[in-house]
């Protein structure tokens, strides 16, 4: 009898805790409710009804904002820049980490430290000389300017994560292949690469969030025709709509939705990736 009431009480406490936590979450995310509800109201309704749900959902707002900010070319730019940068980072960092994590020699441990030190370099330190360098290389205002900068910028963290993982792979695997006469390149692509999918996902997610949401780098190095979604939104809001909140938020939804959708679809990997990225770094 007593045990049962105790259980019931514990159950009630759990429900109460869950409800309390849910309430906290609602308060915490209420700014996002404002964003979505305002974006989907007509301008006239927003003037009367600032907090409620829209009486009639105005999908037209988002379509209008997307058209005026030239959403689709910007989306393509963002996608191109993110995909190419991430592929370059994954390929070059995993190749380098294979050497750094599995070969012995003072050269390698020193080079590892050399990469590690890069994690302390703030972009604000390198951005002004980069401005000149990018100009000299003739890639100013093209996608390649930011792709090169991202590849270099995320290299240290990628190498730290991947090298750490390489050290946990049992050495017999690739040694056996090498003894059987496989070249190092063959061993890397056929034996090592399939084993490092997990850390590669971590690096990919960590870089994706950083690159997709970045404001400063594309603001400095990209021209209008190559511009990313985030800076396109920034220019759109700055040029026309500083006080037209329905348009500002409709445009914001366009700019944030691609990454948010990917996040909601695989949030488990996202959180794991972001935590591992931080912890290993």
């Amino acid at each position: 009898m007593r045990g049962q009431t105790g259980k019931k009480r514990a159950g009630a406490a759990a429900v109460l805790k869950t409800a309390g936590m849910a309430l906290l979450l609602v308060v915490y995310l209420s700014p996002l409710y404002l964003l979505f509800s305002i974006a989907l109201k007509s301008k006239e309704e927003f003037a009367r009804n600032r907090f409620g749900l829209p009486a009639e959902i105005q999908w037209g707002n988002i379509a209008e904002a997307m058209e005026k900010m030239k959403f689709f070319p910007a989306l393509c730019n963002s996608l191109f820049i993110s995909v190419v940068s991430i592929l370059l980072i994954l390929l070059s960092a995993s190749l380098a980490s294979y050497t750094l994590g599995r070969r012995k020699g003072a050269v390698y441990s020193r080079l590892y430290l050399f990469f590690l030190a890069g994690m302390m370099i703030p972009f604000q330190l390198t951005m002004l000389p980069l401005y000149k360098l990018i100009h000299t290389l003739g890639i100013m205002r093209t996608h390649w300017s930011v792709i090169c900068i991202y590849t270099a910028g995320f290299m240290p963290i990628a190498i730290v994560i991947l090298t750490g993982f390489m050290k946990t792979i049992p050495g017999e695997l690739d040694e056996a292949a090498l003894i059987d006469g496989a070249t190092p390149a063959y061993t890397f692509f056929h034996i090592i690469l399939p084993l490092i999918k997990a850390p590669l996902t971590t690096v990919m997610i960590f870089c994706l969030v950083g690159i997709w949401n970045d404001l400063l780098t594309p603001l400095l190095f990209l021209g209008n025709s190559a511009q990313t979604l985030i800076v396109t939104l920034y220019n759109f809001v700055g040029a026309f709509y500083t006080t037209n909140w329905t348009m500002v938020f409709a445009g914001s939804i366009g700019a944030m939705l691609p990454l948010l959708a990917v996040f909601l679809a695989c949030q488990k990997y996202f959180i794991k990736g972001m935590v591992a990225g931080a912890v290993k770094g």
Partner: protein
């Protein structure tokens, strides 16, 4: 002696030959990293000692003039004190709120994984979207907060337009956005504590508060360390929110180091001075990383 030297050379030669393909593997990463990170870093050290204006080829070395000017420049002092305020408030509030939420989330809850995912949403939002939402909430004319104050027959307050208080509200926005990042790191720290320690403590009759103080917090030391470093470096480099919410204004009231560098270079064409401020930022980040690591490593031995 000569024999040893020759032998060493032989080993060295075979090392380079044996390792040739592995060295080749390193090449792409090394090349990109040196050209687009290391070389610009050293350029910045050099340019910080010059009067470079970004355009003219005529660059003159002026010694430590830029660094000396920094001490006299009230704009830099303001940016520095605002940045320190950012660091202080971020470190305290993000960690207190993040740890508190993490502890609540790790109790017996239904749907805690979904909740954790939803809490994390602000972290994946672009900073500029966050800054638009909060600019609206803080708005002087019919912003959310001022509508509430109006109901209470107070205000209106110009939250991010009043130079005395603007910086605090920009900082609070960042705390709203990043606190959940601190939270998930604490959650993963909490999950790595083996449950038998708690069971042993319960058998010994430990009360909840004692468990928190004697087990949970000490075992979270690695998570604390990571969060401290990330929080401080993030605050030192803060650019997006300030740039989009206030542009460093009104006047210079919310200027931080990153916006100061941007302004010096792209508004005043004083690239040399911008580089010098960048060098100071770099030194601060290095100092914080080294000191925090040293502090926690020393304590870990004690525990």
């Amino acid at each position: 002696m000569i024999w040893i030297w020759q032998r060493k050379r032989q080993i060295n030669k075979s090392f380079w030959r044996r390792e040739s393909s592995y060295l080749l593997f390193l090449l792409p990463a090394l090349l990109v990293y040196v050209v687009f990170s290391i070389y610009p870093m050293f350029s910045s050290f050099y340019y910080s000692l010059t009067n470079w204006d970004g355009f003219s080829a005529n660059v003159r070395v002026i010694g430590f003039g830029n660094y000396i000017y920094m001490f006299k420049d009230p704009g830099f002092r303001k940016a520095l004190s605002n940045t320190f305020l950012f660091v202080l408030m971020d470190v305290v509030l993000q960690n207190v709120l993040g740890l508190g939420t993490a502890l609540l989330l790790e109790t017996k809850l239904r749907g805690r994984n979904i909740m954790r995912g939803l809490f994390f949403v602000p972290v994946v939002l672009p900073s500029i979207v966050v800054s638009y939402i909060w600019t609206y909430i803080y708005g002087y004319n019919k912003g959310v907060l001022n509508l509430f104050l109006e109901k209470l027959h107070m205000g209106p307050v110009d939250f991010i337009g009043d130079s005395g208080i603007a910086i605090y509200f920009v900082i609070l926005t960042g705390i709203w956005q990043w606190m959940s990042y601190r939270m998930v790191i604490y959650v993963s720290g909490l999950q790595s504590i083996p449950s038998d320690i708690y069971e042993a403590a319960e058998i010994d009759g430990a009360r909840p508060f004692q468990k928190l103080k004697n087990i949970t917090l000490p075992m979270l030391a690695p998570a604390f360390k990571i969060n401290m470093i990330l929080c401080m470096i993030g605050a030192l480099k803060q650019f997006d929110l300030v740039y989009t919410m206030t542009q460093g204004g009104p006047g210079y009231a919310t200027e931080v180091i990153a916006t100061k560098i941007f302004r010096e270079a792209f508004d005043y064409s004083d690239y040399g001075y911008g580089c010098a401020i960048g060098v100071v930022l770099f030194l601060m980040i290095m100092l914080i990383t080294v000191v925090t690591n040293w502090f926690f490593d020393k304590r870990e031995v004690e525990i």
